[in-house]
Symmetry: C3
Subunit: 444 residues, 3 copies
Amino acid sequence: MVENVNSAAPPMMQWATDLFPIHRSLTGEGVRETLAYIEHLLPLTVHEVSTGTKAFDWTVPKEWVIREAYVEDAAGNRVIDICNSNLHVLQYSKPFWNRVMRAELDAHLYSLPYQHNAIPYVTSYYKEQWGFCISHRQRQALPDGEYVVKIDSELKDGHITYGELVIPGQEQTEVLLSTNICHPSMANNELSGPVVVTALAQWLASEPRRHTYRILFLPETIGALTYLAVNRPEFVFQGQHRLLGREIIAGYQVVCCGDERTYSYLPSRKGNTLADRAAIKALRGANIYHGANTPDCTIYSYLDRGSDERQWCAPGIDLPVGSIMRSKYDTYPEYHTSLDDLSLISQKGLEGSLAVYKRAIEIIEANRTYKVTTLGEPQLGKRGLYPTESTKDTWAKVQDILNLLAYADGTNDLIAISDIIGVDVMSCAKIAETLREHGLLESK
Amino acid sequence: MVENVNSAAPPMMQWATDLFPIHRSLTGEGVRETLAYIEHLLPLTVHEVSTGTKAFDWTVPKEWVIREAYVEDAAGNRVIDICNSNLHVLQYSKPFWNRVMRAELDAHLYSLPYQHNAIPYVTSYYKEQWGFCISHRQRQALPDGEYVVKIDSELKDGHITYGELVIPGQEQTEVLLSTNICHPSMANNELSGPVVVTALAQWLASEPRRHTYRILFLPETIGALTYLAVNRPEFVFQGQHRLLGREIIAGYQVVCCGDERTYSYLPSRKGNTLADRAAIKALRGANIYHGANTPDCTIYSYLDRGSDERQWCAPGIDLPVGSIMRSKYDTYPEYHTSLDDLSLISQKGLEGSLAVYKRAIEIIEANRTYKVTTLGEPQLGKRGLYPTESTKDTWAKVQDILNLLAYADGTNDLIAISDIIGVDVMSCAKIAETLREHGLLESK
Amino acid sequence: MVENVNSAAPPMMQWATDLFPIHRSLTGEGVRETLAYIEHLLPLTVHEVSTGTKAFDWTVPKEWVIREAYVEDAAGNRVIDICNSNLHVLQYSKPFWNRVMRAELDAHLYSLPYQHNAIPYVTSYYKEQWGFCISHRQRQALPDGEYVVKIDSELKDGHITYGELVIPGQEQTEVLLSTNICHPSMANNELSGPVVVTALAQWLASEPRRHTYRILFLPETIGALTYLAVNRPEFVFQGQHRLLGREIIAGYQVVCCGDERTYSYLPSRKGNTLADRAAIKALRGANIYHGANTPDCTIYSYLDRGSDERQWCAPGIDLPVGSIMRSKYDTYPEYHTSLDDLSLISQKGLEGSLAVYKRAIEIIEANRTYKVTTLGEPQLGKRGLYPTESTKDTWAKVQDILNLLAYADGTNDLIAISDIIGVDVMSCAKIAETLREHGLLESK
């Protein structure tokens, strides 16, 4: 599935390339521009929530405007300039325009001693300061002397902006897909998430679905909290896995899914939710191998979390949200630096993630709890489901059917039956559908 | 226990030898003749249920009469004849009498390419056709030319026939023992089951028992379903392990228990029922070893099932029925062929199975949940249960008693206590009975 | 913690040395003298319960007085004399004064063939007889001839005597600490228990505690049973872990805790009670190592029990009582012989046990079940709990806080959270207290 790149797959790599240069941050024009691009691909609703709005323990911050940010040396050369990389400015820097000596400048520089060539990605959303992020090599080479620093930024009352798309399904159950749009020019973390979610949403909308899909493009942390807080009237949590109006049966925080390295999974806080079970089946069931000695998938612990599952899974919210990823944030060397650029991800890498997410969703759509309608084994033969001659060899052929019937007792869903009888869950779903058509199973 | 063949053991091998030639099938005279033989050994009640009777999803089939079945070559030699082996005819063959060419005949032949000398056992209960089963060696040697085929059979409205024996016990609890009487001349599968059950029933009837024993000699599948369906008014299932009138606390489907190879156990669908726990104790507790490198017992999964536990354990019926076997059906090379003859089984093999079944039943009879009657440890010394001098060495001698008392808290039955304290369950039962006599335990 | 002997630690070794020569038995002056010594260290209440009082299945025995016990040879030499070791007399010997021949004397001698030099400790509380305990070497050397045996003892109506101290706490929950005072001159089993409990009680009384501590100095078995029986009106057990007035949340039977060999733990009958969980944390969390290849602690099974947990944990009483020990009774060669003398224990060994018990109690005092007060993650930054700049490196620093918050959902206590997040339980308690002060956690 992964190896056969679908020629009809959406041009996710192109979307990522188009979105890469936009100067996104937690709030502001970069986020709006990004959502506007996605609106051409999906019928998004864009919401704006005012600065100062309470979101549980948090408050929607001021909106950040960044027009110019550079450092000039005494000769007037712009030695640092966000025109070259929008990682160069400390995110949420306050405005600053002055001459500074090399030593004073240095106190406002961020670099990585052990990654000489990487510009780090640094933010200061909640403390007003100014700064520049540069490669350590450049920092060490900056000569003494006077510099002109200019940061033409503004922190003003404005909004936080996010996109939402609800694709209605046939039943009163909902699946949540969430991704982040607050990162500036980085590719795996995070343009891979928005482009895979966009492709997933197009696919979900292409035919009728059993469940409703709620798709969110959010600034990280405060975006998720704001979403939960402002939707609270109709979106209050009633214990585990439930919203007031709908049951969220599963969800995924889609991040870091663009490179071609190993797959990985970060489970929900409670673990063993439908999201977790479907994801593991999707990852293990597919032909996802990278060579004889490479495991097909790294399974992390919820202790390794670091994206918006921190909010979705928090106590009292308790949504069943995990993350299917390629190289997980915080585990690959290019993470949160300028090295996480477009060369790190690929159409093939994105399509692999898309395929696994599709498969997880197909499993969620197909998963049902069935109960056999007969007492005793049904007579398969009269329905053409059993070979008419019984020999040593023919018995094996109906074993899967009989095993599924044996465990379809109204307590095991198909994922559980798949585990018990050792048959792929989608094959179980096909068998179950055939048996349902013959009146031998009923869905509970 | 296995090695010491009991000289007083019933002549099971003789019974098997007497029953072997009878031409049994799902219905008909062979079944009646078999039950008539067993009636000389046990006070069976023989039941007949009419063709066409509904049994849940199934219908009692027509009764099959087979008078003659042979193939003559052009020279008038009977090259195939059920007089030589009653496996030669496809079970439930329709009548046929005609000349056929070698090629046409071949379309009606069944043989096993990889077992040259074996006549396979093939049935076609639910599709009307005709055929012969022969060794592959013979099939390959049959010359071209014309043959006379005669099958003088009849499919007529009649009955399905089964035997039942209820041995009443002292309490309102019941144990089910079921075996099959529908196989023609094969020994391990299946004459071993009926003869071991017959011996078990004689032993059960020989002294008062705590539980009632319901013993069934049934044609496989349709026999079990029919039994359940026709007895439904007083035999309806009320959830797990319960009949309307009585609680079935355990049961065994007795099959494939005549050879001297390893023991095996097939657990009930739910597993860990009393039937399963007693069987495992019986198999592991006995001195059942076959040499240094042979495991004493193979434990199968319910996925490996294949006899009437398929009906007893089906969802909604949910009886706690497992199978203690020697060489399990479908796992030994002679299975369902003419090679499964009397040479495959032995009196010693049958007695081993009988001994394990007796031990399982003794465990079920002895198993109780006790509660200690004192607060704090009882004073064993004043009852003569404790050495009067306390030294380093004497403590160990009363450990088993004290350990049993420590866990006899009204929640653990003796099998559970045996597992906890590491003492054989029948030894636990002896200790418990002594303590009960001293007023220190009460049965719940 | 073990290696750094606290210079302010109480002089437990001195107490043990003072108490060693006293001739203790199940009842009588030795017990009273021992309790009188402890009364100088703790405000004990001493209780006496009359001979003949019923204690569940037992009866308080007569009080034993022992004035003289010796054996003289024909030359008038006292070859055995309790003046030399008070183990020499069979505990609870009846009075005897007569001439006996060597052979008759031998029937009343107790010795250990495989421990030539050890005088065994033997009791006969519940059968009236007389005897002497001597080393096997001495027994073999005793020449033929006539001896004068004198045991000036008395079994009279009297009392059983025990000490009790209740240190009130702030909440309606109680911790039980129990130890034995019935053993004559043996050091690890049993003077280590009383002196460690005495030191623990002094420490507990030195500052306010959350829980009440009930501290008992009891003769073994009958002492515990008597305590339970006579306190029944206000001390009746209401199922698991509950007394009528108070909830016993944890308890320890303090025995065999004076030598410097490995630590060990004997869990409560139910296992996994708060007593067990705190003890394991205390033993595993401390720097308790004895070299590279020595495990820090041996964990026994309740099947290995042998002290008053037999009564505290009995069905229907069901108190959550375990034992933190050094060399467990019945496992070290000197056990229950004259070799278990003061040389076997040390101030360092006693202080190690004291330290582990203190740590277990600190864990019990600190352990609470918290619930986070916010929906979604709280904003740590505005409370100074989060670094204001987010880089690759700073995230790790707040992981422990965030992990604790993630699992503080009102179902996990701190011990459980410690296991989940891999942070020492006392560190968890410190984090939780900080978060509670900031209003982010509430105790349930």
